[in-house]
Subunit: 165 residues, 2 copies
């Protein structure tokens, strides 16, 4: 073996991996929620991707995913993209400093065809508009390379002093 | 006690209670899905109501419900309302004959304020437009009497021969 530096690919860091513990419990995307979906939003070129694996109980009509899982995945992916994009606009990437947190303002989902339950759902997102307080995100949800749903969400920067209970 | 007929209130029948077994597995509203949310859509006046009780794991920011649960509840309530309304338009109520099944075409959710996790979410829906193949449903989601989210969905009548796997 040579003595040169061996380049090991770094594992991809998702923006949700970097949320502080007290805001890392979301059922959709919190890394600390052991019952949750664990949406992990990862930068890919000028967009962002995530993968969600449906569980057998996530059925609608047998064989297909229920619409709520698709909406949940697009929702959490959108707030993750907003966070990552705002962080990038401030000169940072995931893992480099503390990214701002976003909440969903509005969510639209268009269901194009039944989404199989026995395959991962791939989310591909891009930022349509980035403002200081508001980020608009478009997402395609694919299964087996076929677009099954489309989403658009407006994410709102979490206000200072957001109510904690 | 008199000998007159004693009127006992009938338990409310939800439209989902009447779905045939093979399409009663939906995570959002299927009565046979023991891990699901069990959205039950019940006629109330000229509208429809349902109640969903969040579980502790359905958190977003601690203390509040994650957006995906709200979208899931509105989604399944909307297809339930579409089914019940189409059934009513054909002269029937839930429990009287077989109601048509609907799938979600599009879903829009507007998140107005954080929704507490420790209280039932009440859904109040009305039909905006009823066509043979397509029903548009508006829903308000309340917690403690306060509207926390609004939804609008277009539900599409399930085509004959919908793919089964």
């Amino acid at each position: 073996m040579g003595r040169g530096v061996i380049s090991r690919p770094m594992p991809d860091i998702a923006i949700q991996d970097t949320y502080p513990d007290d805001v890392a419990w979301c059922y959709g995307c919190g890394r600390l929620n052991d019952k949750g979906l664990h949406v992990r939003t990862i930068a890919a070129g000028d967009g962002y991707v995530a993968t969600v694996v449906p569980r057998p109980e996530h059925t609608a009509i047998p064989g297909y995913v229920y619409g709520g899982l698709i909406a949940s995945a697009i929702d959490c992916q959108s707030t993750g993209v907003a966070s990552a994009a705002a962080h990038r606009a401030a000169g940072h990437e995931a893992g480099d400093g503390l990214a701002p947190r976003f909440l969903t303002g509005t969510l639209k989902v268009e269901y194009l065809r039944p989404t199989p339950i026995d395959a991962p759902m791939e989310l591909r997102s891009r930022v349509l508009e980035l403002k200081e307080r508001k980020v608009t995100v478009a997402t395609e949800l694919l299964s087996g390379g076929v677009v099954c749903a489309r989403g658009e969400a407006v994410a709102i920067r979490m206000p200072e002093g957001f109510p904690r209970r």
